[in-house]
C-alpha cells in the first residue's frame, strides 16, 4: 500500500475491508418462516448488512455488530438475538 496525494481515498466502499462482525456479542438470527419480507430490517440496519434475497433477508455476519435493531423492529418477531458463540 502506498499513501496517496492529499490523503485522497480512491477506493469507494473500502471500509468493507474492516469486518465489524467481530464487535458482536449478540447475534441476530432470522426465522424465515415468520418473515413477511417487509424489508424493514434491511431499511433500519445501521450496518447496511442485511440484503434482499428471494427467500428473505440475509444478514452478512462479517459486518453485523449485533445492535439488535432488526430484531427489535421486526413487527413479526422474525428475528431473535442469540448470545454469540465464538
Amino acid at each position: 500500500m502506498k499513501i496517496t496525494i492529499g490523503a485522497i481515498n480512491d477506493k469507494p466502499g473500502s471500509s468493507k475491508n474492516y469486518k465489524t462482525g467481530s464487535w458482536r456479542t449478540l447475534k441476530p438470527v432470522i426465522n424465515l418462516e415468520k418473515c413477511k419480507k417487509c424489508w424493514l430490517c434491511k431499511q433500519l440496519c445501521p450496518e447496511g448488512c442485511i440484503t434482499k434475497k428471494e427467500e428473505g433477508p440475509q444478514i452478512n455476519y462479517d459486518y453485523c455488530k449485533g445492535c439488535g435493531i432488526c430484531a427489535h423492529e421486526c413487527t413479526f418477531d422474525a428475528i431473535i438475538m442469540e448470545l454469540e458463540e465464538r
Binding site: 467481530s22 464487535w23 455488530k65 465464538r86
Partner: protein, 181 residues
C-alpha cells in the same frame, strides 16, 4: 518496570481496570502510568489499555510494546486480535472465560482463566450480556501476578468507583479467592 496490557471492547471497562490497577500500585508507593490505547474506537470495538508500574520514577512515555502481562476481559476477542502480541517470553495471560487455561493455545505462555462474568453478575455488576468485570479481574491479577496487594486494590476501588463500591470489592475478593495462582 512491570507492564500490563488489558484487552476488552469499548465500554467494557478495560480502561478503568488499567486505571484502578495503577491507582492501587500508587497507593502502595509505586510509580505508575496508565493509559488507554490512543484511538477513536467506538463502543463494541476491540480496545486496549495499559498500566506501567515501577519502583522508581517512570520516565519513558512510549506505548507499551512488550507487556509482562496481558489481561483479556472478553475471551471472544481471542482470535479477533492477537492478544499475545509482543508479550514477554516469561509473560502471563489472564483471560475472563469459563474455559480452562489449557483450552487456550499460547505456546509456552502461562495462561490463567477466571469466570469473571459469573462473579460480576453474581455481585450485581452488570448483566450477562454486559457484565462489569473490571474489578473481578483485578482480584485475579492480585492473586496470579502478586505484585499488588488486595488491600490496595480494594482501596483503589473505594476511591475511584462511583457506585456499588462494596459489590465491586466483593467481586474482587471472590476472584482473588477462587483464582489459582
Amino acid at each position: 518496570m512491570y507492564e500490563v496490557r488489558f484487552h476488552g471492547r469499548g465500554g467494557q471497562g478495560a480502561v478503568t481496570a488499567a486505571r484502578l490497577l495503577a491507582d492501587a500500585a500508587f497507593r502502595e508507593g509505586k510509580e505508575v502510568q496508565s493509559f488507554p490505547i490512543f484511538g477513536v474506537e467506538r463502543r463494541g470495538a476491540p480496545v486496549a489499555a495499559f498500566t506501567r508500574i515501577d519502583d522508581k520514577p517512570i520516565d519513558i512515555k512510549t506505548q507499551i510494546y512488550e507487556p509482562d502481562v496481558v489481561i483479556a476481559l472478553d475471551s471472544t476477542l481471542i482470535g479477533v486480535i492477537d492478544v499475545a502480541d509482543g508479550l514477554k517470553d516469561n509473560g502471563k495471560i489472564v483471560i475472563n472465560s469459563k474455559k480452562k487455561p489449557a483450552d487456550f493455545k499460547f505456546g509456552d505462555t502461562r495462561v490463567y482463566t477466571l469466570d469473571a462474568t459469573e462473579i460480576a453478575t453474581k455481585h450485581g455488576l452488570g448483566t450477562k450480556t454486559n457484565p462489569i468485570i473490571n474489578t473481578a479481574i483485578l482480584g485475579a491479577y492480585a492473586k496470579v501476578i502478586g505484585n499488588i496487594g488486595m488491600a490496595a486494590i480494594e482501596q483503589s476501588i473505594e476511591n475511584n468507583v462511583p457506585i456499588k463500591k462494596e459489590e465491586n470489592k466483593n467481586a474482587a475478593r471472590e476472584a482473588y479467592q477462587v483464582m489459582e495462582a
